[in-house]
């Protein structure tokens, strides 16, 4: 397993897709959040300011980091979903999956290594985004972080973890459909269905919608209505997806 972890970590480290996704998650998202909060707090009557104000829940650091959590709830699923689909599906698209079989490192270990390095990368991005958000908040004049900042940071990190877990079933999709584009297509389908389910008012019990609603995407009342059980539905979804992918790698004819 250690050998597979090293190899997969090197491949991910060198991957252009992962580098772009990292830049988006740790730099672009905090910058966009800070800009939107700055606009919302201004006296501007621009369309952007009018749209940004309803997204703010609370004030100060709580509102700013809440905004970041809302954006992360969508961006993390997209970024991790795309990267994980590529990490797994490329072996089929590029024809290298056969070279990963008949080795002392079992196919299951190779797949687990892919999942672990992607998880570690994603959670690392979440942590770094939270750290990068601090100078962003200072730059827009929020002052020193307060108790609300800590609470909001925990919420941000929980959202990042949940959305990362929710991307794991895409490893199974990329395996069964033998390529990363099918994983990415499925991801787009999930995003569309999430919008529809949320608009229909059933988002609380839809695992892919609950973290976004809790982060404030549907407003303060919808956020308060989300229960821990609804949030934790992401855990079995992620674990079942990961198990199914690992099982498929170990037992199916992959070539």
């Amino acid at each position: 397993m250690n050998a597979a972890l090293g190899v997969e970590a090197l491949k991910l480290y060198r991957a252009p897709a992962a580098r772009v996704a990292t830049a988006v998650l740790v730099l672009v998202l905090p910058a966009v959040s800070a800009a939107m909060v700055a606009v919302a707090r201004s006296d501007s009557d621009s369309p952007l300011a009018a749209k940004a104000r309803p997204m703010l829940i609370g004030t100060g650091w709580d509102a700013y980091l809440g905004m970041l959590a809302e954006i992360v709830s969508v961006a993390m699923l997209l970024a991790v979903g795309i990267v994980l689909s590529w990490v797994v599906g490329r072996e089929f698209a590029e024809g290298t999956v056969g070279a990963l079989l008949a080795l002392p490192t079992s196919p299951r270990q190779v797949l687990r290594a892919k999942l672990v390095v992607t998880l570690v990368w994603a959670l690392g991005c979440g942590l770094v985004a939270a750290v990068v958000a601090i100078p962003g908040g200072l730059a827009i004049g929020l002052g020193a972080p307060d108790a609300g900042a800590l609470r909001a940071t925990v919420r941000l990190l929980v959202v990042a973890v949940l959305m990362t877990l929710l991307a794991l079933p895409l490893a199974w999709v990329a395996t069964v459909l033998r390529g990363y584009l099918s994983g990415i297509s499925t991801l787009l389908g999930i995003v569309v269905i999430t919008q529809i389910v949320t608009a229909a008012g059933a988002g609380g019990w839809f695992p892919y919608a609950a973290p976004s609603l809790w982060a404030g995407m549907g407003g303060a009342d919808a956020a308060a209505a989300i229960t821990p059980v609804q949030l934790l539905l992401a855990v079995p979804v992620g674990l079942v997806g990961a198990w199914a992918a690992a099982h498929r790698w170990q037992t199916a004819e992959l070539v």
Binding site: T96, A99, L101, A102, L103, P104
Partner: protein, 265 residues
């Protein structure tokens, strides 16, 4: 008297179909330690399928495959790590990733094949030198020619000095110098006791390196060619055309049904 050969790989009555396509139809094959055993055949003969079955990547519909690296024969499907530690393979796409350098690629293959970091580093340097890949060692794989990518794939297959080596057309994209290096590497491996199963379309090349040549056609073994024999190409096509004629002459079930009453009359 020759000593009893050590069987490293044995396929017995192996058949495998993909949908309605019968890729293999009852193949028997032995691979011995210290020999290069060539599989020759036209495209679609079943060479790659047989190799994938030998490596447990596919399961036979009927028949058995057993691999023995010294711990007793085992089914390659679900074989333990201890078996795969002594097996190397290059089947179609080589173990190359465009973002990794040649050295990183071969070292990664060595690690996945069970070598620790120090052993992987040493073995990587050695095999890069043996296959004349030093010049490209620090280059990304995406900059390599097809032939050099294939050579990197071969380096990955042999970096851990396996006892069983399965290579599917390892020299089809190589220049003449590359072909000679691969030939020398296969001969060295066999000389050190490895069992090498190699497929190719190139009869001349196989005649130079192989101890035994098995002809595969339409998923069946037609026979063997003597690597020291004269005009192997002619012998090969004689075998293939004889089989084709036999297939063409054999009455289909429909023909048999429609002609039988007339015959009876």
């Amino acid at each position: 008297m020759n000593p009893t050969p050590v069987v490293r790989l044995r396929a017995t009555g192996v058949a495998r179909a993909f949908g309605t396509e019968q890729a293999l139809a009852g193949v028997d094959l032995d691979l011995h330690a210290g020999e290069v055993h060539a599989l020759v055949g036209l495209n679609g003969a079943g060479k790659t399928t047989l190799m994938r079955l030998a490596l447990g990547m596919l399961r036979p519909d009927t028949g058995t495959v057993r691999v023995d690296v010294g711990n007793g024969p085992v089914d390659p499907v679900g074989a333990p790590s201890a078996t795969w530690r002594h097996v190397g393979h290059l089947i179609e796409t080589p173990f190359t990733y465009p973002e990794l350098t040649v050295r990183e690629t071969v070292r990664s293959a060595a690690r996945l094949r069970g070598l620790d970091r120090a052993a992987a580093d040493a073995a990587t340097s050695q095999v890069l030198a043996e296959l004349a890949l030093d010049h490209w060692a620090e280059r990304r794989a995406r900059t390599l020619s097809l032939g050099n990518r294939q050579r990197v794939g071969l380096a990955c297959a042999v970096v851990h000095d396996p006892q069983v080596l399965v290579l599917d057309e390892p020299s089809n994209a190589l220049d003449p110098a590359g072909v000679v290096r691969v030939r020398r590497r296969l001969a060295d491996a066999a000389h050190r006791g490895a069992a090498v199963l190699v497929s190719s379309h190139h009869l001349d090349e196989m005649a130079r390196v192989a101890h035994r040549i098995t002809v595969l056609h339409r998923g069946r073994v037609l026979g063997a060619l003597d690597p020291a024999g004269a005009d192997l190409e002619r012998q090969f096509f004689d075998m293939v055309y004889e089989e084709e004629d036999a297939v063409a002459d054999a009455p289909t079930a429909r023909e048999t049904a429609s002609t039988s009453p007339r015959s009876a009359a």
